[in-house]
Symmetry: C2
């Protein structure tokens, strides 16, 4: 017997797309950040397949390690599939597609559909994700940039540099109106995804500030950089503190239904770093059960902005 | 084009074995516990394939969720492949084999070999793991038991119960001398894997005790139980505190080479739990660079023993 058997089996749909059937295992679901880590791994796989680049062991032209770093990660939760709502044994049909985005970056879109929906196994169209998402599905948008350390051993200065075999010319282009570049640029400038509050969002309560010491046990990835998925856990740690200060219980936090989450990554850090995280809450006047957390993470020593997050949670579903 | 393309492709070698080629991705390596989580997922996959049981969505005869819980997890690091030594892009040949171990439990053995070794893709023999391991390879031994909650919503009382479709009769038996049952039973009774210190190990310094509050953001899995891989991070958190008290730096901790680690799981916990972790250090008289940490994790409120760990680290390699 020699049949293929795995909780994941990926196959290419066309030159820019991968599709896979996934049985949700403990290592890809939780209240934590495992699902974001797994989606990120799918991004690397999809880029490796679409760009014929050794993404996992990439090198700069000078032979130093190059990383396909996460610059912006957005996820939209659906009614059936949302980030903290996955359970062991859930079966998903995951479709991933890679788009060109300049010579040193790439955009990857993912759709996580309940396998039972039986959606067509065709390349994911940007219009579906940005304009008419299926209400049951989770969608993710990853904007990755090639980086390398400017100084060996330090995570503080990272520069943009792509490996010489990064081949993006054959990838489809993301239509301009969907480009997250302006949104992310503004969030970086303002330290917030809500500098221009979306219509119908009003401030809810005062800002909360707390500190977080980089967790040497958990927050560093296999390359010694702060792991992109850990930023989700770090922001969640700050958010949980706010929820507790409002008298909300841990059980409600664990059941939270994230309908939209954006994270912008603007800096990394070395062991010993301490972060200051500011959380501002917003609520929707149109849908009072929707609450947004607008969070900025800064290096406590230098004040440098390292990351920004915007999370929208449906409290009625939590 | 419709070729299979993934960082993991598993196939069955015989009725009890899976083999896969793995390209190490960010989601399966770090200083943290991702590699243990991934090995655990491979255990579930291997058991699902070998026992023709829906391990990921198993149910008790009464229809309640049943979990193939981790009761004992041992890993032995090799010269080339060790738990915290994996890097992005490393290519591994992973061989997994499932053995029967009574009507409600199972033992799964894994070998993670550097793909470049080109080891034969044959079923893993217990004698190789227990008696003549390849010096370059990482070996893991998982002893899993079927459990279910005795009371819905509580993690404190878990009972042993297997799903009715758990089919283990065709599995090979683990030869008795290799059974970890006595070792684990003694560790549970004594609260230590070192109650009878192995020859050549002598105590090093006083015991350290610290507290750890269950991390609601990170420690619970998709079933709301404390995640088996999180126990590794919790013990590492206690160990890092000890290392820091000895003046050892974070960089040395991150480079640590684990040559042997055993974790016994004897209880779970609910959100709000606080743990007391006691760490005793031992060193080897024969190989002074080998230091062992002998750790017990108890519920601070009740004193109940929840887990025990023994970790052997080669300080010269760290």
């Amino acid at each position: 017997m020699n049949r293929s058997t795995t909780t994941e089996l990926a196959r290419t749909v066309d030159g820019s797309s991968l599709s896979r059937h996934v049985v949700v295992a403990p290592g890809m679901c939780s209240g934590g950040s495992l699902v974001f880590g797994r989606i990120g791994d799918w991004t690397w796989e999809a880029v490796a397949a679409a760009c014929r680049t050794n993404v996992h062991a990439a090198r700069t032209p000078e032979g130093q390690p190059a990383y396909l770093s996460f610059y912006y990660f957005r996820v939209r939760g659906g009614d059936a599939v949302h980030p903290h709502g996955l359970a062991f044994g859930d079966e998903l049909q995951v479709t991933s597609r890679v788009f060109q985005f300049g010579s040193q970056a790439v955009i990857t879109l993912h759709r996580l559909a309940p396998a039972g929906l039986g959606l067509a196994d065709t390349p994911l169209s940007p219009a579906e994700l940005y304009e008419h998402p299926h209400p049951d599905c989770l969608y993710a948008e990853n904007f990755n940039r090639w980086i390398a350390r400017s100084r060996p051993g330090s995570n503080r200065r990272l520069s943009q540099v792509a490996p010489p075999d990064f081949s993006y010319g054959a990838l489809p282009r993301l239509p301009n109106p969907y480009s997250p570049r302006t949104l992310v640029g503004r969030a970086r400038e303002a330290g917030s995804f809500y500098a221009t509050p979306p219509p119908g969002l009003v401030p809810a309560g005062p800002a909360h500030t707390s500190e977080y010491a980089l967790d040497v046990v958990r927050d560093l990835n296999g390359a010694g950089l702060v792991y992109f998925a850990s930023y989700f856990s770090i922001f969640d740690t700050a958010l949980l503190r706010v929820w507790r200060s409002l008298g909300r219980g841990d059980a409600q936090f664990l059941r939270r239904k994230v309908v939209d989450q954006k994270v912008g990554y603007f800096g990394n850090a070395d062991p010993g770093a301490v972060f200051t995280i500011t959380v501002r809450r917003w609520r929707s006047t149109a849908r009072p059960s929707i609450e947004a957390a607008d969070m900025a993470l800064r290096d406590s020593g230098t004040g440098r902005l390292l990351a920004v997050a915007g999370v929208e949670i449906d409290l009625d579903a939590s």
